[in-house]
Structure formats: structure tokens, C-alpha cells
Symmetry: C2
Subunit: 365 residues, 2 copies
């Protein structure tokens, strides 16, 4: 019987629950259970895992004893042997965006269903932070990694340890062109569709507000925009492309200021994200520009905010939820694939479709 020492005694005074959780300083181990039941630790270990090699009644005795004695599984000891942590690392540019929250939300739901834990950290859009986070994940020995790149990440050197050790990485949303496995939407097609829609509404001078071209999401949208113009026989003019490193509220205000001082103003604007679009619209409206009569507008993401602005914003529905789900399922599949190599060699680039959501901000007919 474990002796209740001074600290345990205080814990005893504090506690308000069944004796199951008594803190005696001494953690219960499988050895304690084994001794208690006159079994070997090996049998207890198997019994706790419901190993069918163990007699059904014995298993039950073991599990009951474990519960009664307040046993808790020690994952470290287990990890030390098995080399698996059931932990997935997640690197994202920022936690506080609507899209990312939805993606993480979906990932968390699926991960806990399959008994994986998530270890989340954000780069704040800086490659240095991304590097140190990746490093930390590597040392914490995550089983796999889900990554959405920072705005200024130019190379993947900081992921080499993962590649070399065959720790699977699934890139999502902000994916590098060289990624072997990635999940994102077809930004090029989506941008084409948006631009074509604005053309159909009669726009002749369409401006694009875009993000850092280092990232596929923004580069592809710019390309889609330009190609749509070319296909329509228009020339993608340089002065109609406005690029900012980060597409936030400030970028929207800046874009508005830029538009207001243009001699020949655009009659349509396709903005690579909703937040920027919304704040740009607000600023333009304050200066008497009518949306969509003077200027049609479209955004990207179908952020909650896009329904709140007046007029409601035409945008691209791009489900963080869906991307998150597919990304983590892909990763877990790789983790649980029996043969270790095969899955790592074949490339798997998933491109999701997105849908144009037409709302009042772009309807001119």
C-alpha cells in the first residue's frame, strides 16, 4: 500500500472526488497492477491493450484493477519503445483567420476521432518562425506534419529533416510548387471564373488586388485573372494589378486610396481575399463610389464577413473545413499505410474545386 506522505495528505484534504484519483505522488504502473493481481507486467500490458491472446476474464480483471487503482497509461514509456507518438504537428501562417480556424476545426475533429493529438503553431507569416516551429516539431517527434506556408517562405530547407527521416508532410492551401503531397483548391480556375463573371457583367477595366506571388494561392489567382482577360481579347494592364504582401484590412484601405487617385478608374475589382475587398469597398463607398454601379466587386474565400457588407460580396466559396478534412485524412492514411516507402514516393496533389458565389456587389444587369 502506498504511504500517504505530507504532500499526498494535503491533496487528500483538497480533493472532492472518489478515491480513484488520489494523488499519492506515486503513479500507478503496470507493475503495481501486476503485483496486485499476481500477474506479470507483460500480461498486464497486453490485457490493457485488449490483446486477444490474453484470457477474456483476465483482461477484464486487469482493466478493472487499472480503473480502481487510478492507473494512467504512460505514453512516454510507450513512445520510447514504439517510436510512435500519435501526435501530428501543424504549421500555419496565422491562427486568427476565418479560413484557418475552419480548417483546424475540421482537422481536430478527425484527428481526435482517430486518436491523434494536434500540436499547432503559427509562423505569424515569417519564415524564421516557421523554421523554428518546424524544428521544434521535429524534436517533439511528431508522426507527421500538416503545413501551410508563411508569406515569405522561399525554400523548404527547414523541412529536410522530415524528408530525410521519411516523416510525411502534407501541405495544404499555401503549398509549395515542389510539394509531393498537397491539398489545395484550383486557384487558377477559380480566379478565371471570377474574372469571366466580371467581364460578363460588362466590366472593361478590371483591376486585381493580389497577394505575395511567392505563394501559389496568389500567383495562381493572378495568372487566372490575366489569362481570362487575354482570352476575352483584353490586355492585362500593369496599372490594374495591385499587389500587397499581406491582404488584411490595411491593404484594403490602401487599395482604395490607390483607386481613388487613379485617373482612369477601374469599373470592376477582383480582390484575392474578402477582408481586403470589404474594407476597400467601405472606403470607396465613403468617397461616393457606388458598388456595383460604378465599380463591380468580387472577393475570395466566402468569409463570414462577405455577407455583412452592403452590398453583399460576390466571392469564391473555398471551404476551410473541406481542405482541412482532406489534408488530415491524407496524412493519416500515409501514417497508417503498412509499407513505409511506397506511399512516400508517389506524388499526390489534390486540387479541390471551388464555386463562385454571386452576390449583389458584382451584379450590374
Amino acid at each position: 500500500m502506498p504511504v500517504v506522505n505530507a504532500i499526498g495528505y494535503i491533496a487528500l484534504l483538497l480533493q472532492t472526488t472518489s478515491p480513484v484519483f488520489m494523488a499519492n505522488d506515486k503513479e500507478i504502473t503496470i507493475y503495481d497492477i501486476a503485483a496486485h493481481l499476481n500477474l506479470s507486467p507483460a500480461t498486464v500490458s497486453r490485457g490493457l491493450k485488449d490483446n486477444p491472446a490474453i484470457n477474456k476474464r483476465t483482461r477484464k480483471r486487469i482493466q478493472d484493477a487499472a480503473r480502481e487503482m487510478g492507473y494512467r497509461f504512460n505514453a512516454f514509456a510507450s513512445n520510447l519503445r514504439t517510436k510512435k507518438t500519435f501526435t501530428i504537428g501543424i504549421l500555419v501562417p496565422r491562427l486568427n483567420s476565418y479560413f484557418m480556424s475552419a480548417a483546424l476545426s475540421a482537422m481536430d475533429t478527425i484527428a481526435s476521432g482517430k486518436n491523434y493529438q494536434l500540436m499547432i503553431s503559427q509562423s505569424m507569416e515569417h519564415k524564421e518562425k516557421e523554421q523554428s516551429n518546424a524544428n521544434m516539431m521535429f524534436h517533439k517527434r511528431v508522426d507527421g506534419l500538416l503545413v501551410s506556408l508563411a508569406a515569405d517562405t522561399a525554400d523548404l530547407a527547414h523541412f529536410e529533416p522530415f524528408f530525410a527521416n521519411k516523416i510525411p508532410i502534407v501541405f495544404f492551401d499555401r503549398v509549395p510548387p515542389t510539394a509531393r503531397v498537397s491539398v489545395s483548391i484550383d486557384n487558377y480556375q477559380a480566379a478565371r471564373k471570377v474574372t469571366e463573371h466580371l467581364l460578363q457583367q460588362g466590366c472593361k477595366r478590371i483591376m486585381h488586388i493580389g497577394g505575395n506571388k511567392l505563394r501559389n494561392v496568389y500567383a495562381d489567382r493572378i495568372k487566372g485573372y490575366k489569362d481570362a482577360l487575354v482570352t476575352a481579347g483584353l490586355n492585362p494592364a500593369k496599372e490594374l494589378l495591385f499587389v500587397k504582401d499581406e491582404l488584411n484590412e490595411a491593404a484594403g484601405l490602401e487599395a482604395a486610396r490607390h483607386i481613388l487617385q487613379m485617373d482612369k478608374k477601374p469599373d470592376g475589382v477582383f480582390c484575392a481575399n474578402d477582408i481586403t475587398a470589404v474594407h476597400c469597398i467601405r472606403a470607396l463607398k465613403q468617397h461616393g463610389i457606388r458598388i456595383p454601379e460604378d465599380m463591380a466587386f468580387a472577393g475570395f474565400n466566402n468569409d463570414a464577413i462577405s455577407c455583412v457588407i452592403d452590398p453583399e460580396l460576390t466571392t469564391v466559396n473555398y471551404s476551410g473545413n473541406m481542405v482541412g478534412q482532406i489534408a488530415i485524412n491524407t496524412l493519416i492514411d500515409m501514417l497508417e499505410m503498412p509499407g513505409p516507402m511506397d506511399s512516400m514516393l508517389e506524388s499526390n496533389k489534390i486540387l479541390l474545386q471551388s464555386e463562385l458565389v454571386v452576390r449583389a456587389s458584382s451584379l450590374r444587369k
Copy 2:
């Protein structure tokens, strides 16, 4: 010298970086370093930790060798001995809210600065999920816990293992009344201020749209609202209190429907969160109700959305960032306090102030 086997060979072909990260299947341990340098594993262990007891030159040799040999620290083995994981568990109702994202963002920044990892999971507002998450955290042996409760959590039984084992918990935002350590804002005072502001604007019939009274945040706001009315000599009428379990977009629409069918409509509405307020306003506007002329409006949270609605929403600025910072700092202080007991016994309820942000939606004079 480690032999490159078949798998290692493929890894070699794949790799594009320095030989530091070669995957030889065999992980480098302190024993390998020790053998390489003709030292004992203990010395290597100390050297890697920059223990001043070790000769400065030896330390350097050890660290250089570690780097060259591609050593990576094995946290499990370390945890197994030291019983500390440098991992903090976080339980939140939902990841995808603006407030929570900001709080997590702040926590992540501070945690990584102090070398802690975060293990985040969400309850989806259900106590069952919260329970299983808490359980998982306990088994993963987090050093401490940060908790914001689900909407329907009625008791804290699932946290007993933590209390009993003296694993510190800091509750934040959605805190239980019985919490020993908690960080939240003064919801009562904030709600009073909002209500008083509406009164000052000439409102005589102020409605309150509130959330689940099980949670302090909503109960306190309701109380603040009622007390402000009483102080002003008004009677908090039952038909002017509209309570929904979850304050989301749907709740806003439902509230609007409710208001539209009221015989004697309110001339002011104080809504316990911005999202609900915004969608309620949108619906009311569509039915010809003018804000603020017919009905003044105020929300809570200063969500990004509150500046996008027209008219802009009067609200309470309640920084997720600040709450997150203080919560995690409080927890880390507890974790790093030398004497284990003292800090756990004293209660520490931090109540932050918030500020009323007056915007057009409530200005009638």
C-alpha cells in the same frame, strides 16, 4: 559507422540536403556521441544542456559532434525521467471564432517563447467532447491546462484528475464560478455600461439577447443588463429577454423574427455578441426598421465584423489577445513556481476591464 541499408539508400537518393540529416534508420543517441568522443553518456547529456560543471571546451566538442552526427534530442526518454513534458493543454469551445483565434494566437507566441508546446482541442460546445478531450490531455501528461468551458458543461468532475494530481488549470473567458484560478473580463460591469449607454441615448424599452446562463459570460451580462435597468428605475420585463443557447448567425435571425412579431417593439437592443447582433440588424433592416433611429443596437466583443455592418456596431472591446496572454502567463508562472503547493492553494481570479466602443448603431442624439 552505420551501414546504409536498403531503406537508407532510397532516402539517400531522395535527399537534397547536407548529410547531417541522413536517415540511417538508426537514430543517433548520446551513447553514440559519447563513444565518438570517448566520453561517458552522462557527460554528453550535461554537455548538451550546457551544464557549467562541464569543461567549456568539452561542451563545445559535444555540441559540435551532436550537430555533425545529426543527433536529435529524445524528449520521451527525458520525460520518462523528469516527468515534465513542456506541453500545455488547451481546451476551448470552438477554434473558429475571432475571439478564440486571437487568444490562441497570443498563447502560442508566449508559449513558444518559453519553450512550451501547445496541445489544442475543441469541445464543439459539448461537455462530452470536453470530457474526452480533458481525459486525453491527462493521459498525454500535459504540465498544465488552459480551459474555456463548453456551453453546457455543468460540473467539473472531468477535471478532478488534474486537481488531484495538482496539475494546474487556468480557466479563461468561460470560467466556472468555483474556479480557483481564472482570467476573464468583468462581464457584469461591461453589460451595465452598455445598458446605461443605451439609456442615455433615450431608449426606454431595451431588449437583451443573451446566451446560455450556465456560463458566467452570459449570466453576468444578463445580470448587468437587469441591474442597470433597475438602477434607472425601469423594470426588466420578461418579454424583453431573449435567450439562445448558442449565439450564432441563426440566433440573430431568430431574434429578428421574434422582434418583428412583437406588438410593442423595443427601442434598443443589447446583444451579448456581435455576430448575433449583426445578423439581427441585417434582418431587421430588410424589414424596414431603421438603426439606430427606430432601434438602437449594441453588441459585445468588438469582432472584426462589427465595423463592416452599416451602421457600424457599438460594442464592447474585449481583447482575446490580452486574455490569452494573461491566462498563459499565469499558468506558466504556476508551473515554474518553486514550491509546488503554495501556488495551488491561493485563489487568483483575474478580472479584466473592457471598454465600450460607441459607434453609429447606438447614437441617437
